[in-house]
């Protein structure tokens, strides 16, 4: 029996389904059904199964990712939630960092806290940072609070006490007490969802989890019931924010870990391609309708992080969203997509985004009532999109509407020709993305020039060559199935769990036996979760720590050699060797990041991370076989190249007929879900796995004539 792998990715507009049977891929894109999201998954699944001549019972793996958790937070559709917290500190989740993220903007607003102040109850209790009980837990106050909150109609409870990242006894006892008087209410402990120091982020993560838990539980159990009704008996795995798969039970307990699972799938796809091609550093570039997401992939692994902000509602500004601390793929997201609206700023310069026209009304060219020019409208006017082939020909585009919108908002007020206005919109959005990529690289201690750009999502192949040029990147990969990249990425994800503990130690005082038992307990915890998702599969474990020089306020992430830190049972660990290992790993990482080290300063570790994941077996790439003949010259399209300012006839090539021999640009490589622009000075060929490989041949300055 063939391996039949099914993936479903619920996005804001579309639900993507990918079904891999051996080396053949079947895909479907159906509209997301907002009120009953499981319906679209079932609908799309039925479609692809029918297309493949299979039934539900044939499916051997089902992987699901969704933006529902994200949307529930952004749209504030979650439960009425309460927070039980240390008395005296109930405003931590609202006070945030006391800072302003928009320096000159007097009208700046912060998002309302998920749990309003009157439902944040201070409980008398207090632990010191070293675990000393300064004030015992007031058990009566906990019971009393639970009963009062129940009478208030609260639906979900988060419990977050100070220093619980290390000392969770009070939180656990409080949960018991609440459950005694109110057994039905779902309870989230901050020490379970995020056992990490920094109270604002930890409590905020616990509140977010409690807030979406009832809704996500309903949805996940609904989907589970329905897909079983389809005859599917294999387990369902949930794609998590950090790029690993988890079980249904884990997802119901900690739904906050499903945030941003769609984009995570895309980064995994990029990572696998980078591994296949043996690329040391790649930049994953996912540009859709609303935003562009960039992620650095180093040695085949996407950068990960534990910091994420959901819903940067205020002009996409960092700091304007709700902070979460959980394992995530480390991405920078900017408001630059096909539907991003172009206008003029205070100085009359062209500005693009972050506002998006979305899918309704969408770009002016969609003819659905949109009158503001968007990036897609500019792309159309530049000749990059063949109107009759857009979205497989199902959505004809209106060139006149695009021209009118661009003329009215950009060309006429600025005294520009229509062509220059279109070039301007395209160049500004490409500059924005390139600048974001460069700054993201700097923040992570990487220089992205010289890396490989892996571009997917509907709009990325249109812009990839130009963005690459601006970043000093010579090689671009357009994956096969670029339009449903995230869903394909799901099929290539390992089962994984990241365990985290804050345990503050100066390295010179650290004891090997204490560290060993901490790490062993973390391995056991993570392995148990992974074995639940993938029984009997081989796993690997890796460790990292957040470390810093004493006196610094920020830690850097340091990869650790686990085998050198855990002595075999019964063997007394060599404290000095372990300290030396930790210190040298830190100094190495510090030098990589900051190009120097500071002699004479002590080193300390704050938080320890341990990841267990299943070992991936290579998956075949799917798609149609490469054509044997050189591509036939089908037609030419007139395309304006912002790099040269010239309108040049571009060869139009179907992706499916492109072969392994390099074809010189200028060309447009078309497929149903997107178009790849290959400017003059680039070649394109079809590589292993059916990916398009673009390479720059002439290293000309990428400016204007």
């Amino acid at each position: 029996m063939n391996d039949v792998r099914l993936a479903a990715d619920i996005g804001g507009t579309f639900t993507d389904i990918a079904l891999q049977v051996g080396s053949t891929l079947h895909t479907a894109k159906v509209l997301t059904t907002q009120r009953e999201p499981a319906a679209a998954v079932l609908d799309g699944t039925a479609k692809v199964l029918a297309g493949a001549g299979l039934c539900g019972a044939d499916v051997t793996v089902f992987v699901h990712g969704t933006t529902l958790a994200t949307n529930a937070l952004i749209e504030r559709r979650g439960a009425d939630t309460a927070l039980l917290t240390t008395a005296g500190l109930r405003d931590a989740v609202e006070m945030a960092h006391e800072d302003r993220f928009a320096q000159y903007d007097l009208a700046m607003t912060r998002p309302d806290p998920l749990v309003p102040r009157h439902r944040r109850v201070g409980i008398p209790e207090r632990l010191a940072a070293d675990g000393t009980v300064l004030l015992a837990l007031d058990e009566h106050a906990v019971r009393q609070a639970a009963l009062e909150l129940r009478d208030l109609g609260v639906q979900s409870i988060a419990i977050g006490f100070l220093h619980s990242y290390r000392f969770d006894a009070h939180e656990r006892r409080a949960r018991e007490l609440v459950a005694e008087v109110w057994p039905e209410v779902p309870i989230t402990l901050s020490s379970e969802v995020c056992p990490e120091i920094r109270e604002y982020e930890r409590f905020s993560t616990a509140c977010a989890n409690a807030y979406i838990q009832p809704l996500m539980q309903r949805y996940l159990l609904d989907l589970e019931g329905r897909r079983r009704g389809l005859g599917m008996t294999c387990p369902m795995y949930l794609m998590q924010s950090g790029g690993g798969l988890g079980t249904l039970a884990e997802a119901v307990r900690h739904p906050v870990r499903l945030i941003e699972s769609g984009p995570a799938g895309g980064a995994l796809l990029a990572a696998e391609i980078a591994r296949d091609l043996g690329v040391a550093m790649a930049l994953s570039f996912d540009m859709g309708g609303t935003t562009a997401k960039l992620c650095i992939v180093e040695h085949g692994e996407p950068h990960t992080s534990r910091e994420f902000e959901v819903g940067r509602q205020y002009r996409f500004l960092p700091g304007s969203g709700l902070p979460l601390r959980l394992p995530v793929i480390d991405m920078v997201e900017i408001g630059a997509g096909g539907s991003s609206v172009a206008g003029r700023d205070a100085l009359g310069r062209i500005a693009v985004g972050p506002r998006s026209a979305g899918s309704e009304p969408g770009p002016a060219a969609y003819g659905r009532g949109g009158t503001e020019p968007t990036v897609t409208d500019a792309d159309l006017l530049l000749g990059r999109i063949l109107p009759e082939r857009f979205a497989g020909g199902e959505l004809p585009l209106d060139l006149d509407a695009a021209a009118t919108a661009l003329r009215r908002a950009i060309a006429e007020p600025g005294g520009l020709t229509l062509e220059v206005a279109a070039v301007g919109v395209s160049e500004v959005v490409d500059e924005n993305m390139a600048n974001a990529g460069r700054v993201h690289g700097i923040e992570r201690g990487c220089d992205v020039s010289g890396s490989t750009l892996i571009a997917f999502g509907g709009a990325a192949p249109l812009h990839a060559a130009r963005v690459a040029t601006k970043l000093g990147i010579d090689h671009i990969v357009i994956p096969s199935g670029a339009g449903v990249g995230s869903a394909i990425g799901f099929l290539r994800a390992p089962a994984a769990h990241e365990s985290v503990r804050t345990w503050h130690r100066r390295i010179e005082d650290l004891r090997g036996d204490e560290l060993g038992s901490l790490l062993r307990a973390m391995v056991a915890e993570a392995t148990e979760v992974v074995q639940g998702a993938a029984p009997g599969e081989p796993t690997t474990a890796s460790a990292r720590a957040f470390m810093r020089y004493r006196g610094q306020g920020h830690e850097i992430t340091v990869a650790l050699p686990l085998e050198d830190l855990i002595a075999p049972e019964g063997v007394r660990p060599d404290d000095q060797a372990i300290r030396n290992t930790l210190a040298s790993r830190f100094l190495h990482a510090y030098r990589d990041m900051y190009t120097r080290e500071i002699p004479g300063l002590g080193v300390e570790a704050l938080t320890w991370l341990l990841t267990v994941r299943t070992v991936l077996t290579p998956q075949p790439w799917v798609g149609t076989a490469p054509a044997l003949q050189p591509p036939a010259r089908r037609a030419f399209a007139e395309v304006l190249d912002p790099g040269t300012g010239a309108v040049v006839p571009h060869l139009v090539v179907e992706r499916s007929v492109l072969g392994p021999q390099p074809l010189d640009g200028p060309a447009l490589v078309i497929e149903d879900q997107t178009t790849t622009v290959v400017p003059e000075g680039f070649t394109v060929r079809r590589g292993p796995g059916g990916h398009l490989l673009l390479s720059r041949v002439t290293l000309t300055p990428g400016g204007f004539p």
Partner: protein
């Protein structure tokens, strides 16, 4: 093949705008590099830094947007002082220049300015400058207690600090001998030099990409376009002259900040004639820093979206008579010049509120209420026999901001500074202090149609029972943040022990080991008459426990709200 005509249709303009955009990205990268590598808390956490690129004449073309406005144009002016001392013609590749002169730099000895020339094809094409607040500079440390600048630490006049990228070992030795945390201070200077190098590298690659030989034409365009845009923004204001006086606590006697603001065609002049004289304490302000916070205040209201550069900055002109606290000459004590400097946006708002009443917020706490506590302790895990260790806990905190013309003020939020606090859990990890309370302070925001932001209450004690010392630099303890257009004043702040003992709001005090210290932060002023408060908003404030005072009554049904 059709080629778009370069001269028609605006392609040249587009190209310049793209390069301008890139230049702003270059300085943002420069600043990011600095934040990542810096040691001092205020640079890293608070964004107390600046980075910018200048043309060979010393005109600033772009500046990074960072957490604090104190460097807005002080750094811009600083580069001109460097060029005066070291003309461009005498500079060589690899040169590094430096100063912490409060009057030629950014206002106190803690801020080091580093300037690096950029050469391309053997020619100096630009200068990069940056500044950040280093961990320590010797002297009295971060307090109000210095009497003249000589008490405040090491003074480094404008000098060539490095050749061929190598620091002058003699100067390094002098710095090391004069500061408390020499490794971190030298580390901070390394980070300053490194960030200029990143900026230079990016600028050269941009010039290569666009085939630029110099920045003359681009620079001219940036400066002209920005000046024109600022002038247009000024033209939207009514012309005239407005006065305001704001009384603040000061050290031993109150200080009046007297402001005259004149809007003329294409320019705004702000003058501080009438302001109180300088004092023998560290709260005096050098002119450069006065100019920075004053300009910032104007820019919050006029042209906030226009990028900072010599063109946009030139439209706002600031003056103050020498010898007043806002233009205190050398050797005045200027250590904590932010205490007065951060009041200046409120001073400017006092005038602008008369010119454009619908655009200007009420007064706020404005000056930061940082918690700086020191003492000794036995860290967890340390042997009981070991000698106690010294701890320093520095955390940035804020009271309430003023109500806005169309919404409430932000509670416990920094303005005009934009700094971040430190988490309680981190403060408790690195010190024996316990934050028994850190909550909003109800009723502290001034009532009004829109309510001022609330302050907060912090209650802190030493769990190991030792005495600890605090260095207070607090304002709005005697004179509150005033309401606007009929809004009520915010509550004043205070400090006291749990036995009722008052603690002074400026200077160093010892908190006995068996006592708890309460810091009660001021609230921001309200905006508009309280009778016009939306009853639903008041109801919500009561539900959330933000308002408990009885006298803040709901207006009678049928009362007009606006």
């Amino acid at each position: 093949m059709t080629v778009i005509e370069r001269t028609s249709g605006g392609l040249d303009e587009l190209r310049r705008d793209l390069m301008w955009n890139r230049l702003i990205s270059v300085v943002q990268e420069q600043a990011t590099t600095l934040v990542r590598a810096a040691f001092s808390t205020s640079t890293r956490e608070a964004g107390d830094l600046s980075a910018g690129v200048f043309d060979p004449q010393g005109r600033m073309l772009a500046q990074s947007i960072t957490g604090t406005p104190g460097h807005v144009n002080s750094m811009a002016a600083s580069v001109l002082h460097f060029l005066e001392a070291f003309p461009l013609a005498g500079m060589s590749p690899g040169d590094i220049f430096l100063t912490n002169d409060p009057w030629r730099g950014t206002g106190h000895l803690f801020d080091i300015v580093v300037v690096t020339p950029v050469f391309r094809q053997g020619r100096a094409v630009a200068l990069f400058a940056c500044t950040s607040h280093v961990v320590d500079i010797g002297g009295t440390g971060f307090s109000t207690d210095s009497r003249e600048v000589y008490h405040e630490g090491l003074f480094l006049p404008i000098m060539r600090f490095g050749r061929d990228g190598v620091f002058d070992p003699n100067v390094v030795a002098i710095i090391e001998a004069n500061v408390r945390d020499k490794v971190q201070v030298i580390g901070d200077i390394h980070s300053l030099a490194a960030c200029n190098d990143i900026g230079a590298k990016r600028l050269v690659s941009m010039m290569d990409e666009y085939g630029l030989d110099d920045l003359d034409e681009l620079g001219e365009h940036i400066i002209e376009a920005s000046r024109t845009a600022m002038e247009a923004a000024v033209a939207e204001l009514p012309q005239g002259t407005w006065h305001s006086t704001m009384r603040v606590d000061g050290m031993t006697e109150p200080i009046d900040i007297v402001t005259t603001l004149t809007v003329a065609a294409g320019a705004i002049d702000v003058d501080f004639t009438g302001t109180s004289a300088q004092v023998p304490f560290g709260i005096n302000v050098p002119m450069a820093y006065t100019t920075a916070y004053t300009s910032f205040g104007v820019r919050c209201i006029v042209g906030p979206d226009i990028p900072n550069n010599s063109g946009s900055l030139s439209v706002v002109r600031v003056s103050a008579p020498q010898g007043c606290i806002l233009n205190a000459p050398h050797p005045a004590a200027v250590n904590v010049r932010h205490v007065m400097g951060q009041m200046l946006p409120d001073a400017v708002f006092g005038c602008l509120a008369q010119a454009v009443p619908e655009r200007v917020p009420a007064e706020g706490t404005s000056s930061l209420w940082n918690l700086l506590a020191t003492g000794t302790w036995n860290p967890p895990g340390a042997s009981p026999a070991a000698a106690p260790e010294r701890f320093i806990m520095m955390s940035f905190h804020s009271g309430g901001a003023g109500a806005r013309p169309d919404q409430d003020g932000l509670s416990a939020t920094a303005f005009p500074s934009g700094v971040r606090n430190m988490p309680v859990e981190i403060n408790e990890l690195i010190s024996p202090l316990v934050f028994w309370r850190k909550e909003f302070r109800p009723d502290s925001g001034g009532a009004g149609r829109y309510r001022g932001g609330h302050g907060q209450l912090i209650e802190v004690a030493n769990r190991q029972g030792g005495d600890f010392t605090i260095s207070a630099t607090y304002e709005r303890v005697v004179y509150p943040a005033r309401g606007r257009h009929g809004g009520e004043d915010g509550a004043t702040g205070s400090l006291f022990l749990d036995d009722g003992t008052a603690v002074k709001a400026k200077g160093v005090s010892v908190v006995p080991g068996n006592r708890r210290l309460t810091v009660s932060f001021p609230g921001g002023g309200g905006f508009g008459p309280v009778a016009e408060r939306d009853p639903d908003a008041l109801e919500r404030d009561r539900l959330l426990g933000f308002v408990t005072r009885r006298e803040t009554i709901s207006p009678a049904p049928g009362t007009a709200r606006h």
